[in-house]
Symmetry: C2
Subunit: 191 residues, 2 copies
DNA sequence: TCATTCGGAATGAACGTTCATTCTTAGTCG
DNA sequence: CGACTAAGAATGAACGTTCATTCCGAATGA
């Protein structure tokens, strides 16, 4: 068993336990148990609990973003790009309940705030579909003239809330309903 | 000093500390300190920590709902009712940052899930503006035919996210922007 | 044999809750 | 009115538990 194996086992165990039980229902000893390693071993791969929590998030985040960007129709109309992303989010998060729950936990915690601040001031030049949609939409005059964060809220907040409702059993989101949801979000941002 | 005074002091102290530091940054001893009472005293008014947390929420919730329902224009068109609520939410939550932060914490915790489940199965006959808007909107054919939870998500999720952005400093919501936000939410639910 | 990695008992700090004790208040009696 | 008493409210030190982190002996492999 090589180094990466154990690291991944720990990341997965942490993700599952924290998604199911919340950050505070997943002590290090339990994570170690589930990962099949000793408690001390975790500290060979992660400096401390905070680092572990952030690393789990980054693992999920990177995979999520790369899924959304797969076949992203950059050259097509903004509306089409938006539908690609919107339906992608629903599709991915419905098929990955644990990852959804984990990111929800994360976003609503001090870690999440820190992460959001970093993203909004992001000038790393890294591609960001939120910005892409916003600036293209403005340029072609197909979306309302509103601040970027508000654009983001209108476009995506209902989608995330809807996925949460799906996972708590309040609604069942099938393809048809997903289409309606994304389309309604589009209605709120389009001119 | 009468009984209610101390109880209120404890509720306020708990609300402020938990809003600012999160549930886990506000130990009972610190709450007691801030409230100017002994640690043990808290347990004369609240059975335990969970009860305290829930009671703080109910205090905020009741006040919030009663604010929103004040001058609710029941007999006017659905659109007008929706604007009343939407702008009321923004107004109230922007003027009460601590209460906003507290409710956000609460909703994204096991307590919150429990509360949501209770509300959705709510047949207490108590007036609920969400349901009122939904059924009136459907009856008069001014809103889309979508499930109630999805209606709720489209109508209100962006509003709450926008308020969060305001409080974290990402945007400044003035009256004009509030109008745009509520109006955009309306665009997403109207036929 | 030596270096590296691992496991899990040990450690100590943090925290919710309890409870023996003190304090406050209101009622009673001389 | 003032002294005494009892009820119950308030206190905060102490307790037991939980948990992140450390540490050291065992295991592994070169």
């Amino acid at each position: 068993m090589c180094k990466t194996d154990k690291r991944d086992d720990i990341l997965s165990a942490a993700m599952e336990l924290m998604a199911e039980q919340g950050f505070h229902g997943a002590p290090m000893a339990m994570i170690a148990d589930k990962a099949g390693v000793g408690a001390g071993t975790i500290y060979r791969y992660f400096e401390n609990r905070d680092v572990l929590i952030r690393d789990v998030y980054h693992m999920i985040y990177d995979e999520f973003v790369s899924f959304l960007l797969n076949r992203y129709p950059t050259d097509r109309p903004v509306r089409e790009c938006f539908f690609h992303i919107g339906k992608g989010i629903i599709d991915y998060l419905i098929r990955n309940p644990l990852k959804f729950r984990y990111t929800e936990q994360f976003h609503n915690s001090p870690y999440g705030l820190e992460f959001r601040k970093l993203k909004l001031s992001n000038d790393t030049g890294e591609f960001d579909f939120g910005r892409d949609l916003y600036y293209k939409g403005l340029k072609h005059q197909v979306i309302k003239e509103i601040p970027l964060p508000i654009f983001f809220d209108l476009a995506f907040a209902p989608i995330f809330w809807a996925v949460r409702d799906h996972h708590t059993g309040f609604v069942v989101i099938d393809d048809a309903l997903a289409e309606v949801i994304v389309s309604s979000c589009w209605d709120s941002i389009r001119i």
